[in-house]
């Protein structure tokens, strides 16, 4: 299911004709963000959450070159199955072609630019633009142009197919794409993060499937607030989710001290990914039906003790830049950026394909009641992010540095969990997240003219 497109020969996103078009200098300006992120000292300038110009730069230099989550392979059963989503703010169609390959195309007609598909998902033979009727097949090829004889001799339909996402790859059921023709492979960009992801994706040979569609909702907050939290922030759980923890504890009282002061580890990835998890066996907040069904001995055999005692107890994770998940709940989500001040959250529930129906149903309901817009945990998360964002435009407010110093210098290789890890309560993965963001923001992407 890898992309079959030739490596792009031009530095543009597409080899499409652009004639005499040239963007003037000054239309796009890049800012040096080195002074906005002190990853080493654990300080952040709040402008990175509010500034419109920085946001446009993020779309060019953080989103466009990165591997971005698109969908789950289970959403594509037959040729013509499609799912529409976004990469950054770019609308894309993900579809299975006749050769059963997953492809992704920019969802924008090459004529005047309308979306060629306005359904969320479905099955189709082609994508016909409803403006003037240009029609594209499942390979993105332009197959029909009404009144084509009105165009000059030089017009060739082959030049005007949908813009294809040059690389689409999967990791254990999760489909990612990148616009960067020169990107490293998805697997390489995940690095040791893949070991942590397997705690959710690789319980047995059958893998995972999506259950029941996508929850979509909007939040008034910068996308990094959510992505960062899922990378690095177990810290908020006891306070933000106090009510949910209380309701879910067997006694209905405050959670025990050993829960509040739980120990665990946080994985800190050099590419900005992060994952945290308690290592205390009492830290299970999973659906009882699922818990009773799971064969932990078999998991120990397959994944090893460290993973079962670590990321399989509970936890949170982000794959840089904007894909996050909860390994035990099977809640996976993407934080679509909608300007500096808004996120559109899209969340799926995934389950083990091998589970009996009643176990899958228990996981689905558990997720709906805990995470998702009405979930008793997620409700309070939404409140936090909109709260941080709503006041961040104040002039004085915006200039007061934010603190990311928890667990500074705690990063080390502990011999049990792969890569560099820190404590459960730590900002280490957050510092790495912003260090990666800083690097990308200050590095010209493949689509930029070489300044030399």
């Amino acid at each position: 299911m890898t992309s079959t497109i030739e490596p792009a020969t031009s530095r543009a996103a597409t080899t499409a004709p652009s004639g005499a078009l040239r963007r003037p200098d000054g239309l796009i300006r890049n800012l040096d963000v080195a002074g906005l992120v002190d990853a080493e000292g654990g300080l952040l300038d709040r402008a990175i959450f509010t500034d419109e110009q920085l946001y446009r730069q993020e779309l060019r230099r953080v989103f466009a070159p990165s591997w971005l989550f698109l969908a789950h392979t289970h959403q594509f059963q037959k040729p013509g199955d499609f799912f529409t989503t976004y990469m950054g703010e770019d609308p894309v169609i993900v579809t299975m072609n006749k050769d059963r390959e997953i492809k992704a195309f920019l969802n924008s007609c090459r004529h005047r630019g309308a979306r060629v598909c306005r359904a969320d998902s479905g099955r189709t033979k082609n994508f016909t633009c409803t403006y003037h009727g240009w029609a594209y097949d499942l390979q993105g090829g332009l197959v029909s142009v009404p009144n084509q004889d009105g165009y000059p001799e030089s017009f060739r339909r082959e030049d005007w197919g949908l813009v294809e996402v040059p690389h689409v790859e999967t990791y254990k059921g999760l489909i990612f794409g990148t616009w960067n023709p020169e990107s490293v492979s998805l697997r390489e960009s995940l690095g040791d993060m893949a070991w942590y992801m397997d705690a959710m994706l690789d319980h047995d040979d059958e893998g995972t499937e999506v259950i029941g569609g996508v929850h979509k909702w909007v939040l008034d907050g910068n996308w990094k607030l959510a992505a960062e939290q899922f990378a690095t922030d177990w810290y908020h759980v006891n306070m933000s989710h106090a009510s949910a923890l209380q309701v879910m504890s067997p006694t209905g009282k405050k959670p025990k001290d050993e829960i509040v002061h739980r120990t665990g580890r946080q994985y800190v990835d050099p590419n900005g990914h992060g994952a945290g998890f308690p290592v205390h066996p009492k830290n299970r907040f999973d659906a009882p039906t699922v818990h009773e069904h799971v064969d932990y001995d078999a998991l120990r055999e397959r994944l090893g003790d460290a993973r079962v005692d670590g990321p399989l107890t509970n936890g949170h994770a982000t794959v840089f830049p904007n894909f996050s998940y909860l390994p035990v709940n099977g809640s996976i989500r993407i934080w679509h950026p909608k300007g500096p001040n808004q996120i559109e959250v899209w969340a799926w529930t995934i389950v083990d394909r091998s589970w009996p129906d009643e176990v899958k149903e228990a996981q689905r309901r558990y997720n709906l009641r805990t995470f998702g817009p009405s979930g008793i945990f997620e409700q309070d998360d939404g409140e936090n992010w909109s709260e941080c964002q709503s006041i961040a435009h104040g002039f004085i407010t915006n200039g007061v540095a934010l603190n990311y110093q928890m667990g500074i210098d705690s990063e080390r290789e502990d011999g049990r969990f792969p890569g560099v890890t820190s404590e459960l309560y730590s900002d280490a993965a957050g510092r790495a997240f912003y260090a990666r963001w800083r690097t990308l923001m200050n590095t010209p992407a493949w689509h930029e003219e070489d300044p030399s």
């Binding site: 969320d120 998902s121 029941g212 529930t349």
Partner: protein, 196 residues
């Protein structure tokens, strides 16, 4: 074809004005309890075997419209029993449910009420004394300083008359089943912290 013609009952027929009035008053009372945050009292209006469901809705091509409402077992905003609603409500009482602390202001408007006598031959799992009711709602939420949300949609209810221990109908209505269709694709709200 109305069932009632065949068996001489009211099954399937529109309710008369007295029952209609009673149902409307029931809904207005319910809305008042929700807007006043009296969730424990609201729970009393719900049957013990309640089925409370609010599916997500997707944009589909017209020929695939049948798929535009998530099926049972698919993604929903609510898929609840009375017990799970009670669990959600207990959270508000913890004093630490920050998404509703300070509480939002809500206004539940219920309109376009259409009341029919249930028809066991047509509607699944009902008895003849049940009412099958459709209504439209508009729920406004004002949160903190300037956050505003509007939730619009339709409810399809089965209302049941309570039976007293002596077997005689005691007259009070309860919601036995509620299907809530929100007229939204991407939910234009950071969360759903109220009920419908």
């Amino acid at each position: 074809m109305t069932h009632s013609v065949l068996d001489g009952t009211r099954a399937g027929q529109l309710a008369d004005r007295d029952i209609h009035f009673e149902v409307e008053q029931f809904y207005y009372r319910e809305a008042e309890l929700l807007d006043d945050g009296r969730y424990a009292d609201w729970l009393e209006l719900l049957a013990d075997d309640l089925d409370y469901w609010m599916p997500t809705r997707t944009n589909r091509l017209r020929r695939q419209q049948a798929l535009s409402i998530a099926a049972r077992g698919e993604a929903g905003f609510y898929d609840e029993t009375k017990e799970s609603l009670a669990w959600r409500i207990r959270r508000f009482d913890s004093g630490m449910a920050w998404a509703e602390d300070p509480p939002s202001r809500t206004r539940h408007l219920v309109t376009n009420v259409r009341v029919r006598h249930a028809s066991p031959a047509v509607d699944e799992g009902v008895t003849e004394s049940d009412l099958v009711v459709k209504s439209n709602f508009l729920v406004y939420r004002s949160r903190l300083e300037r956050e505003e949300n509007v939730f619009a949609g339709q409810r399809a209810d089965v209302l049941r008359r309570l039976t007293a221990p002596d077997g005689v109908t005691d007259g009070r209505l309860q919601v036995a089943r509620r299907e809530i269709l929100l007229d939204a694709n991407v939910l234009q709200s950071k969360n759903i912290s109220t009920f419908f």
